[in-house]
Symmetry: C3
Subunit: 128 residues, 3 copies
């Protein structure tokens, strides 16, 4: 049986902790026995925007916050099977076009619903 875990990130400054948690977890239990899902909502979705890229409709400041430094780590983790989800409501509020997100990010209608469904399906919840 696999370890199933969902990490909920809703503030950009928590990405570093979340990424570190996932790396420690996969190193501990091995990626074959783990199913890891990250749900980003709120302003945390800014962490998915690639550095140097203009996120869709938005000009300017979003890319400058320095939270997307995690992107390389995220891409690496996605190759190890980690699923990265972005809340569509949050993207709208943050004025980030879904098209501007990296390929490894999947947009879901509502992050909260995803969190509720996954817990009902046996995923542990962690707020990094």
């Amino acid at each position: 049986m696999k370890f199933k875990v969902l990490l909920h990130v809703n503030e950009p400054e928590r990405w570093a902790v979340a990424i570190s948690n996932i790396i420690n977890f996969l190193n501990d239990v091995s990626e074959e026995s783990a199913e890891v899902v990250v749900v980003a909502n709120g302003s945390a979705v800014k962490g998915y925007v690639r550095e140097g890229e203009t996120p869709g409709e938005v000009q300017g400041t979003v890319c400058a916050v320095g939270v997307s430094a995690g992107s390389a780590d995220m891409e690496e983790l996605s190759k190890r099977g980690v699923l990265f989800l972005a809340c569509r409501n949050a993207l709208h509020t943050q004025r980030i076009a879904a098209e501007s997100l990296p390929d490894f990010v999947t947009v879901v209608p509502a992050g909260i619903t995803e969190i509720v469904r996954r817990q009902a399906d046996g995923f542990a919840y962690i707020k990094p």
Copy 2:
């Protein structure tokens, strides 16, 4: 089967996020298929105090923090079936009289116990 979810709010500044999460959730799954409970403890119980009202024993500053702006939204959500709970220990610590709370708020002996019981009863946990 209903989606059961508990939101835990323990800091006043997280109310806006919590309210927004609930609205997105109900709009996504419809209130008929959702059972939503909010447990407020710690200083977050200040968010239940109506603006302009003096909370029980306390004079002055509590109402000025601007967190109770959510009250109208809370009342609206309570009409859509959302249950708002306040921890009695927290009310005591914050010197807020239970009588000063809006009618839609229910006081429970200990917020933490409520959170533990609900999760044992199948509620998903979300920390906004």
Copy 3:
């Protein structure tokens, strides 16, 4: 059946809230009917270091943060059956030697794994 609850502390400034939550909980349900586990990772492991003690390899500042004031409460709670765990990865990152921790603290290989396992085992999750 016992109430099973895990508290996740990953920032030193959340210890006071966590300790208060546990005291309220045990006073409400009694320690005989509760199984309480605290998992500390990230910089929160600094909260386990006794005041006035130099934590292993580190000289200086760690003890000065004033978060270890909770130690007496922690020791008291450990006597009431509360289990305090520290993440080994976090200890390494924070340069705290396991030997410098109080006797009531148990070191686990990865805090995240512990959180996932416990939830799969029926523990409620609380982020104070």
